[in-house]
């Protein structure tokens, strides 16, 4: 709310008279009234309580947007902020608070109903409905996006307030990850797939065109699993048959020396400049701690030779001696072949194929 209003205020003043902003707004919105006439930022606004006078929601100045006052845009409407949620990669259960503000100055508005479209994987918590929003009163709803749910989250919640339906679309990709690392006894194989359209004559004259500007990757490898972890991995593979997985570029392991919980910086002991995929094809990294079966996915904001900065705070606590950072791609399980060695131990040959996704 504050941010949006601040941006609005700023842009309007810049459009009006650059550099002439000296006014401060320290009154409550309820008491704010304005003198009609030509507005000039070189002179103070005449604000005060005038009995019986209520400024119109969109005053005369709204006919020329360049001269409109910020308060002309603020009142006589319902504010819902944020009015959309882009959860990006859903790797853990997360909650989002949506602020409601009845900016009508003289009208009660009733928050009467909530409905939804494809809500699987999410939940909404509202005040007890119907909920009365008095003039200028605030309220909130909380939307929870669960770790489990559909692979592509495309949900819309509809809030009925004052008889008007407001939409809150939710978008995200539910990404799974397996913390267990591949068994190097069977060498992992990374395949880079291009696609070229070729017309070739009998004399081997050719016309060629590249259809894919960056390669699609495939990782083939083997997990050696046993006991509870084996059961968990098999269940996760079954659950993830229609989901996206974060797939580590297994030969570009980066060894962390410092991972600060709640911070965005990771210091590594080997150089990022050696990591071709990390530099050329990856936007995301995974923090893998196999001993605790923990993986955290982060978007890379920037990097230097020995550090990586993520776009969001690192949530979990890691023991750097047990943790490895991998560049990752997003892929689906192409095949999984399970060969039990004993009743307690199994080899799982797995193949992940990269899928290009919009996040």
């Amino acid at each position: 709310m504050t941010t949006k209003y601040g941006l609005l205020l700023n842009s309007l003043y810049q459009a009006d008279t650059p550099g002439a902003l000296t006014h401060t707004y320290n009154r409550t919105f309820r008491d704010l009234t304005f003198k009609e006439g030509v507005y000039n930022t070189d002179t103070p606004l005449e604000c005060g309580e005038k009995d019986g006078y209520i400024p119109p929601a969109l005053g005369p100045r709204m006919y020329g947007i360049m001269g409109a006052r910020p308060e002309d845009f603020m009142f006589e409407r319902i504010w819902i902020i944020p009015n959309e949620i882009n959860a990006k990669l859903i790797t853990a259960t997360d909650t989002y608070t949506i602020a409601l503000w009845n900016a009508f100055q003289r009208e009660n508005k009733v928050f009467s109903a909530v409905s939804s479209l494809t809500p699987d994987g999410t939940a909404i918590t509202t005040p007890t409905l119907p909920y009365n929003l008095q003039p200028t009163a605030e309220g909130q709803v909380v939307i929870t996006i669960y770790k489990t749910g559909p692979s592509i989250q495309q949900t819309t919640y509809y809030l009925t307030i004052g008889g008007v339906i407001y939409e809150i679309p939710i978008r995200g990709l539910r990404v799974m990850a397996l913390a267990k690392l591949l068994n190097w006894a069977t060498e992992p194989e990374i395949t880079y797939d291009f696609e070229t359209s070729i017309f070739q004559s009998e004399r081997l004259k050719e016309q060629r065109r590249s259809v894919r500007d960056i390669p699609n990757r495939t990782l083939k490898g083997e997990y050696l699993v046993q006991s509870t972890y084996g059961q968990q991995l098999l269940n996760r593979i079954q659950y993830g048959h229609d989901k996206l997985f974060a797939v580590p570029i297994i030969d570009e392991a980066m060894i962390p020396t410092t991972i600060t919980t709640g911070g965005k910086s990771i210091i590594i002991s080997n150089s990022t400049s050696d990591m071709w995929n990390f530099i050329n094809l990856c936007q995301y990294i995974g923090i893998y701690e196999p001993s605790t079966n923990q993986v955290e996915i982060h978007e890379v904001d920037s990097y230097t030779a020995n550090s990586i900065t993520t776009t969001a705070d690192i949530v979990e606590t890691y023991n750097v001696n047990d943790t490895t950072i991998f560049p990752i791609f997003f892929g689906t399980i192409q095949s999984a072949n399970i060969s039990p060695e004993t009743t307690e131990m199994s080899r799982v040959d797995i193949e992940y194929k990269e899928r290009k996704v919009n996040i």
């Binding site: 990374i190 291009f194 070229t196 004399r203 050719e206 590249s210 297994i250 030969d251 570009e252 050329n280």
Partner: protein, 209 residues
């Protein structure tokens, strides 16, 4: 010194050498049309002046530098799309006389290269220190009394190339990868191995002047 890469046009040079643990394999793709009907003699029509090479080879990417070089090259080539110069690892020419700095000719053992010479051929000279010299052969003259071939080129050599150096002199082929899929088998973090195939582009030499 450094590489002296001349006469390569716009295509880049693929500098990796194959892993000879598994021998490279070369095929010749004949450019001809065979016409045969029942009860008649066969007829052969030529579709090109010389056959086309293809080559299967394994490369051991034994450190990050080589591995990243290969990945970058593969990405630039975009699979089968873009052409590049490929060092045929077989020694095509045996040096017969020393060539000094600035030399515009190489004298090599007579081996009937003049039978197939088309005018677009490039050679490479792999020096003992790993440097590579490339040149386009502008003429081939056979000298029967001297039992040698005279290979001409410009510009002149930037260093002496001597018989005693045992340098490899081979042919450069204008190629593209013949696969869109590159599978790197990962031995350890820093060592990978890949087998790939290239094919010669006979009709594109004229584009690289």
């Amino acid at each position: 010194m450094a590489n002296d890469l001349q006469n390569l046009g716009t295509a880049s040079l693929f500098t990796l050498d194959p892993n000879w643990v598994s021998n490279p394999k070369y095929n010749l793709i004949p450019l001809r049309r065979l016409i045969a009907f029942a009860g008649t003699a066969d007829s052969i029509q030529s579709l090109g002046s010389v056959p086309v090479f293809s080559c299967n080879a394994n490369y051991l990417l034994y450190n990050r530098v080589r591995k990243n070089y290969f990945l970058t090259f593969m990405n630039t080539a975009a699979g089968r799309c873009n052409r590049f110069w490929f060092k045929h690892p077989y020694t095509f020419f045996t040096l017969k006389n020393n060539a000094g700095i600035g030399a515009l000719k190489l004298y090599v053992e007579r081996q009937e290269f003049d039978w197939i010479y088309q005018g677009y051929e490039r050679i490479y000279i792999q020096m003992g220190n790993g440097d590579v010299i490339t040149r386009k052969i502008t003429s081939v003259v056979e000298s029967v009394p001297n039992n040698r071939l005279e290979l001409s080129f410009t510009p002149g050599l930037d260093r002496a190339v001597n018989v005693a150096d045992k340098n490899t002199i081979g042919r450069l082929l204008l190629c593209r990868f013949d696969v869109d899929s590159f599978s790197l088998k990962t031995h350890i973090q820093t060592i990978s191995e890949i087998t790939t195939r290239v094919v010669e582009l006979l009709y594109e030499y004229v584009l690289e002047v």
